[in-house]
Symmetry: C2
Subunit: 493 residues, 2 copies
């Protein structure tokens, strides 16, 4: 079947939507990195306008008609082809986007902006009660959002689908139960063997230099990438050839190296998407979970491994006087330490998952009707059960994360799904790149990067996350490899 003109029309329309969305991404990047402070008010309007326009352009009736008219063409195609994927994914996105009345979307955005402001203030004062009315309003709005869709097995399925398309609550529950069962006792046992972080002073610019030495080996290159400092590190992209990563370098630790490796992992995913998908809605990672699998893979499976540090520790040690007396073994233990704490974003690789599981369970209870007056107490009691820590105040407890203020229920689980998938992908990669340890010990990462590009990155968003993972590892998501990895790590500690 020849390509019908309707397909070119659809593609051109979707390319415009993509252009507007990526323009908004640039405005957001600029806002979070280099914008003069006083630019913030007008920038918020600009971002709202671009978001509204991208949405309106996408849910246009003509897009719907084109998608209907293209059914015969789609059926004539190999489902794996770029064209079939574009029509399929656009149809799924279109059906979701057109279910939500624009007034409700606008109300959620407005409520989110107000609620965010209230949350900033509440966290500053550690005053949950001042935030509760906003959270109650948001929960009500999210119920109205869920009601826009066909009822699934669980109302939470609808929320989860926005971040991890196709994933079901029941499946996450099963995976997380398994994680919890193993991790709670493991972590309780590990807490007595804690290795403190290595103390010292590590100037930010020197950290940046070292981080660049590392990520240039990973695949960062100046012709397609930039790195800038940002208060909350993130990665974004405006094309497969315009990748922006950000980092922060607190000078009392070398955490900046890990933040940069993490964001570089996100960047490599966007950079590795098949250029043929440029300016289509397929031109990004398949889900937040799969994206996180890549950032965690480079940060943890590479960046906290023995071979990596046998290559790079001498370079770090010669750079900082404060490390002269710290041998490689001590350094290695300190960066792989497992110690329960109060704050998710400061958590180590293992305990991090319990922070996530707690939020995932709470989100379901919140959507199930939990009286929000009881939320802090419930939070604190779960923190004690899962991590054995006592929460001193709400700023270090239920108010620590921004997500709920913006209505981001369903986002948190993707972090741990990413951890789990990262090890599945890593093990599969090792079957092909059998000498990866030796390569890393020589500071060589191009075989790894190219393997990931070939087996995962290039697909972009052509397939659903589960199908994408299946193509990489040959099976569904499975927590066992990750558990074995953590058990091995904790046994060595």
């Amino acid at each position: 079947m020849t390509v019908p003109p309707e397909f070119d029309t659809l593609k051109a329309k979707l390319a415009e939507v993509y252009d507007v969305a990526k323009s908004a991404a640039l405005l957001a990047w600029d806002q979070q990195t280099i914008m003069p402070a006083e630019g913030a008010d007008v920038r918020a309007h600009q971002l709202a306008t671009l978001g509204k326009l991208a949405h309106e352009l996408f849910i246009d009736d003509e897009v719907g008609k084109l998608l209907e008219g293209l059914r015969p063409y789609e059926e004539s195609l190999d489902p794996d082809s770029d064209d079939a994927s574009l029509i399929r994914v656009a149809r799924r996105d279109f059906e979701k986007a057109t279910r939500v009345p624009p007034e409700l979307s606008a109300e959620i955005n407005r409520a989110g902006a107000r609620s965010f402001t209230a949350w900033v203030e509440a966290r500053r004062n550690s005053d949950y009660e001042s935030f509760r009315p906003w959270l109650e309003e948001m929960v009500e709005l999210k119920h109205r959002y869920v009601d826009c869709f066909e009822p699934g097995d669980d109302p939470y399925d609808t929320l989860l689908d926005d971040y991890e398309p196709g994933m079901k609550t029941a499946e996450v529950n099963e995976i997380f139960e398994r994680l919890k069962e193993e991790l709670v006792p493991l972590i309780a046992a590990a807490r007595d063997a804690a290795t403190p972080p290595v103390a010292g002073r590590f100037p930010a610019l020197t950290q940046r230099q070292l981080a660049l030495e590392i990520v240039r080996r990973f695949g960062y290159d100046d012709r397609s990438w930039r790195i800038d400092p940002a208060p909350h590190p993130f990665a974004t992209s405006f094309a497969t050839t315009d990748i922006r990563i950000t980092t922060r370098e607190p000078e009392d630790s070398l955490d900046g190296l890990f933040a940069t490796m993490h964001e570089c992992g996100h960047g490599l995913y966007e950079n590795g998407v098949d250029p043929a998908l440029q300016r289509t809605l397929l031109c990004r990672g398949a889900s937040l979970g799969l994206h996180e699998s890549q950032s965690r893979l480079w940060e943890n499976l590479v960046g906290r491994s023995r071979p990596f540090w046998s290559w790079f520790y001498p370079r770090v040690q010669e750079t900082f006087d404060d490390l002269r007396g710290v041998d490689e073994e001590t350094w290695f233990r300190s960066i792989n330490d497992v110690s329960p704490g109060l704050i998710r974003i400061d958590a180590d690789e293992a305990t991090y998952n319990l922070h996530i599981i707690l939020r995932f369970e709470l989100e379901q209870r919140i959507m199930g009707g939990l009286d929000l007056r009881e939320l802090p107490e419930t939070w604190n009691s779960m923190m004690h059960d899962y991590l054995g820590v006592v929460v001193p105040d709400d700023a270090h407890g239920v108010l620590q994360d921004v997500h709920w203020s913006r209505g981001g229920f369903g986002y948190f689980p993707t972090y741990s799904l990413g951890n789990i998938m990262s090890v599945q992908i890593w093990e599969r990669m090792r079957e092909d790149v059998t000498d990866i340890d030796e390569q890393m010990a020589r500071g060589e990462f191009s075989d790894l990067r190219e393997w990931l590009r070939e087996h995962l990155h290039r697909y972009g968003r052509k397939f659903m996350p589960a199908e994408t993972l299946e193509r990489v590892v040959g099976g569904p998501i499975d927590p066992e490899p990750y558990l074995r990895y953590l058990q091995g790590k904790l046994a060595r500690a």
Copy 2:
């Protein structure tokens, strides 16, 4: 009369157009300053999409209906009010924008992109003939563009109006004839008294530091401004509180200081617009000519003045070893030197105008049917007549500027109109700020800046350029003050 709801609707629609246009400005700023090189292809698409959307949103039928429906409200208002100005200026813009068929605009843009590429190559090879077919096509398209409008006294009026609204070709001709009459002999006489530029090595970062010391006194502040290097310096803004200036600092001169003062002048205009006009199409300078009056005022009337250097030369001299033996008088003469040359952008303050007049006259002849095979010869002969220089090749002659490749006929004259108006404004300002010389000699510029804000900047684009100038200086554009200024300068040389 109470504000009709149609006015709020119009204002909201125009604010969206503004948001999209300013988003495009950010994409362009990023592209010209910090974007990784490989991002260029996709960025061009993003810019084209935003440009198309802003245009489509603006020429929407509903905007036309709202503007018609608002006539009674407009008539009930003080014409000087913000609301009346917004309706008036929007109607003028709308009537212009809807006269040009979208297909023609698109064709001019496409031809401009191809022609630009051909020009880059032609200039590199100094091969005018390879560029001529593209220029011929562009001239043909500009004729079709002019034909979209009511015939004026001169077809060139239409082109001029895009850059200097309301200005007529006949008026510019008269002004430029007067300039030419005085300047050609003056410059010929001055060429024997040339003071060579001060030689030395001036590291870029040190120049940047000094430039920042200067522009911070002018009004640059870190909460609303940024400065970044760019190959071709420019200024842009995304809000009155988000001003981006750029600069270049060739290390064999201190030209970077003047480039930065120039761009700061543009930035102060945007920064000084009344915040009540934020996110409206009134929120920018009234014309390119008036904009240039501000950049030239700060670069030349401030930045090449004796009082300025009596304040700042000691600071510069203590910074650079190469200036130890250069006294203030020598420095002052070198930066005010008048020497005819081949290249417009390297020209001094006085000869610059002859470069402009030549282009203005040629543009009229080109639109009047000049055989483009004769263009280089005509150019070279005029350069000899006006500036007494011999053009060695087309790269240093007719191919030196980008403007024509993009179809920017009518742009050049605004540079000299800016020079002329800058001195009119300066003389009027001196009547109020009588001790401006003493202030500058102390490094104080806030009275000057606030005077400009109060008398010019705050109006933004509320009034036509001629009316805006009238409000500042009490009369029409007049070359005599500028001529007296140049005569005085050249007499001292």
